[in-house]
Amino acid sequence: MVKYFLGHSVLRSSWDQVFAAFWQRYPNPYSKHVLTEDIVHREVTPDQKLLSRRLLTKTNRMPRWAERLFPANVAHSVYILEDSIVDPQNQTMTTFTWNINHARLMVVEERCVYCVNSDNSGWTEICREAWVSSSLFGVSRAVQEFGLARFKSNVTKTMKGFEYILAKLQGEAPSKTLVETAKEAKEKAKETALAATEKAKDLANKAATKQQQQQQQFV
């Protein structure tokens, strides 16, 4: 689940002034949270475009509840990369900016297109899009899915329990529990075995007596 932002701004300066200012905007009174700025890659393409990558470090300001939830993130500044393409022939500039750490907590990506204002060629407009995402959203979805699965399994047990107790209450003879049935079966088996043993013993005795009687006849 990504949060999307779309914005539009106008600067009342010409495109070349804005593009030049882009490289000189730090520091300014509104950038106290920007700690360092470095160009880490720059090249001019064969078709006369300027590609640059700027590395910024910014403070990681979070509300107190977030500091308590994510203590490991508090101590570290945020590293941000800003890639840009300046196209002086078409008088446009495109930038893409995103954070390269704290990414497991949250990723913010911003894409800007700077161009000449359609109403006033002496002005510059900025079309800005941003996407805010967090992998924590995936964690909460997993917790929800697990909770629902476990709940459904418990509903099945609830209904089986109900059916069991209803049958018990409504039956003429109380139906036994599995344990009771097992116990009784065991007792019955014991009795049968005992009876069988007794019978066998009895038969054996009877056979022995008969043999004695027969032997006595031939003396």
């Binding site: 689940m1 990504v2 999307y4 070349d16 593009f19 030049a20 490289w23 000189q24 730090y26 520091p27 920007v34 700690l35 360092t36 700025e37 470095d38 160009i39 880490v40 720059r42 001019v44 006369q48 300027l50 590609l51 990558r53 590395l55 470090t57 590293y79 990369l81 890639d83 393409i85 300046v86 002086p88 022939q89 495109t94 893409f96 995103w98 390269i100 750490n101 990506e109 894409r111 899009e129 996407w131």
Partner: protein, 76 residues
């Protein structure tokens, strides 16, 4: 503005001055050739790339402009 490598701040400022002049006076006017700042840039880059490695800042292997493809407006 400071560099992420403390030792590189002066080199960064020197390079920035050179770049800003060339950018406004040459590049934006259609003359993108002959970059006079290459030596300053080299010195500055040697310093800052070393600092980036030391601080273990993860800038390696990241595609230019993100993924280079259009992002959907609402992705779930």
């Amino acid at each position: 503005m400071n560099s992420v490598g403390e030792a590189c701040t002066d080199m960064k400022r020197e390079y920035d001055q050179c770049f800003n002049r060339w950018f406004a006076e040459k590049f934006l006017k259609g003359d993108g050739s002959g970059d006079p700042c290459t030596d300053l840039f080299k010195r500055y880059q040697q310093c800052v790339q070393k600092a980036i490695k030391e601080k273990e800042i993860p800038i390696e292997g990241l595609d230019f402009m993100g993924h280079g493809k259009e992002k959907p407006e609402n992705s779930s």
